[in-house]
Homo-oligomer: 383 residues x 2
């Protein structure tokens, strides 16, 4: 159930001293072939970490032999020196593996604005490369955790091939993408162009619709490595289904582990004029601090939902919006519906359905509540 | 120092039983002329409360004799019945004053989605009209408070004329406009078109640049009533300066009373390519929950500021951004500058300066931190 579930991948996580806690903080995922097709999707933030700038170039060639990841530092806003650190990490890994540095992707996560302790990192990489095993996915997933309370792994068994994956992310979760690192692996046979198509579609429908706190990261990276070791060449549709299922599973794990959260909120926008409208409305509601604090307080405050919908450009008639919370039609035609006391918000899962009555498109955005623990945790992060 | 500081205005606030606390909850501001020129600026939220829909039509004619305001209920998302309630309030007031209902603006604030208790409200309006006095501004300002901890009043003495005003607002503070009601009065002589021009410019530079929690209200209303009682006809520029000064003062009062806030944060964006770029960047930073929680924790986490800047479309080179916090150049050229321990964040005022090095435009956005008290207060609002 990890990145090493598909055939032909090895991984490891080691403690290199980057984290003050002494926990695992450097990971590698190695592709043993026979194919090395790969693709990546990166943050749309214009302030991009050095490893994002580097790995974007790597996947441009469509071939990845190894991924090196570290927690304990984002290597973002570190200037030319920070970029050289990433480059040196790739060179170091490539030399050990006897491959080209341009086939080594690098991912970092942690505090923005500080240089990485390079000697410790490179020593850790050497150790991780030595330890990499075909059942090493679990330790790799542990090594990329920051404020995550648990590692996040997945494996989807498909028709003759497997998709595995790991993710880290617990805050700065917002589209384009969430603050997260994800490495997906598959032993399916697929060329780099197909891998790219499949990964983009999967991200669009899963990670891009997770918006925990509206904050976009400088380091987001999702990589998919396909080595063909199963000998099975699925159709694009079949591969896309398995990869999307893996991403959906990891996205749900990210959501349920979001910093300080007490609710997993799914905002389903239905009968929108366009899918873009549905996404815009869902995202506006997901980003309203007043909506999020209300849910933290178990308060089905639908007025705040309508207020958030009203900030969008989506097609709707304000007097024609229905909102249901956990199945209770609390707002009908833009005004009060069922009594708010009939909504049960005691559980962690909250389902909000917004019917815009403006068409037949739909989308679901996933978010969390805004809790006292979120504020507490994020007001003391770098200190 | 209130709405009744300019000549020719009367006001009052009374307790009509709309607030559970028994406090003042209905206010009137009456214009005794000789002129009745007026203008209004309203929320850009597409979900608009009944009193906004009504008052927007009233000011379209440029003549306002009276403003009726209530706390204890927003009369938003209340459908056709809610609009009739607003209409009835205006009719009731107009009948008592012997004027047309189309000259009576109405403002409401409080919980969204519930009907107002009309008998109590109309009884309160009658009482407020009877009590309205030339020194009644203070009680009117008190009657429009919701979660405000104190009333907000202002008076600016200009060259032969005066601008007075009152505001309420403590949450849902975001552009277009803040969640607030503002009534400004002046005894200057100015036609309705000039009043409109002056008010829009003042709002653009003050209330529209206050973004406490990124949440936009359904009820925002800013009204300016000019009665010419001073006999002085200032130039448009002179009147604009006084009105903007009054708005600036009220905006600062709104910011300093924002729900649960412990910091007043001014984000000055300098050397932007355009003023729109400066506003976009300032607003993105002001809306980042991670920036806001960091300031609550007295943490000068400039990486989160850069991460927020990176989400905008403004012109800048990521490696060319400087950020100073309370005068300390903590980020230089997109990377670490002065040591973060040298930034003193112990006070309430925080000055963030972002130099984009992309032009010569500038704008300042004002916001607050995101505190435990904000979450606490907003998770228990309607219950």
């Amino acid at each position: 159930m990890t990145t090493t579930s598909p055939k032909g991948f090895r991984a490891a996580g080691v403690a290199a001293g980057l984290k003050a806690s002494g926990g695992l903080d450097v990971a590698v995922v190695l592709n043993d072939g026979p194919r090395y097709d790969a693709a990546g999707v990166f943050t749309s933030n214009r302030v991009q970490a050095a490893p994002v700038l580097w790995s974007r170039e790597v996947v441009r060639h469509g071939q990845v032999r190894a991924v090196v990841l570290n927690s304990g530092g984002a290597n973002a806003c570190t200037g030319a020196a920070g970029f050289q650190d990433t480059h040196a990490t790739a060179e170091h890994t490539a030399a050990a593996l006897g491959v080209g540095a341009a086939e080594v992707a690098v991912c970092s996560t942690g505090l923005i604005g500080e240089r990485l302790p390079m000697p410790a990192l490179l020593t850790g990489v050497t150790e991780a490369l030595e330890k990499a095993e075909t059942d090493g996915g679990a330790s790799a997933a542990e090594a990329i955790m920051t404020t995550d309370s648990r590692p996040k792994n997945v494996a989807i068994a498909a028709n003759g091939f497997t998709v595995g994956g790991m993710a880290k992310g617990a805050g700065m979760l917002a589209p384009g993408l969430a603050t997260m690192l994800v490495v997906l692996t598959t032993d399916a046979v697929a060329d780099a162009s197909t891998v790219d198509t499949v990964l983009r579609e999967a991200c669009r429908l899963t990670f891009d619709r997770l918006d925990s706190d509206g904050c976009m990261s400088t380091n987001d990276t999702v990589l998919l490595l396909a080595n063909g070791a199963s000998g099975v060449a699925p159709s694009t549709k079949e591969l896309a289904a398995a990869v999307t299922a893996a991403c959906e599973d990891l996205a749900a794990q990210l959501q349920s582990d979001a910093e300080g959260s007490t609710k997993d909120i799914a905002i389903a926008v239905t009968n929108a004029a366009t899918e873009a409208d549905a996404v815009e409305v869902g995202r506006a509601v997901a980003r309203s601090n007043l909506v999020k604090t209300a849910f933290f307080g178990n308060d089905p405050n639908w007025g705040r939902i309508l207020s958030a919908i009203g900030t969008t450009r989506a097609a709707f008639d304000p007097d024609g919006i229905d909102v249901a919370i956990n199945g209770v039609p609390i707002c009908v035609g833009g005004a009060a519906g069922a009594d708010r006391s009939t909504v049960d918000l005691s559980g962690r899962a909250v389902d909000v359905t917004i019917d815009l009555h403006a068409g037949d498109a739909a989308a679901t955005i996933r978010t969390n509540d805004l809790s006292l623990a979120y504020v507490h945790e994020n007001s003391a992060y770098s200190t």
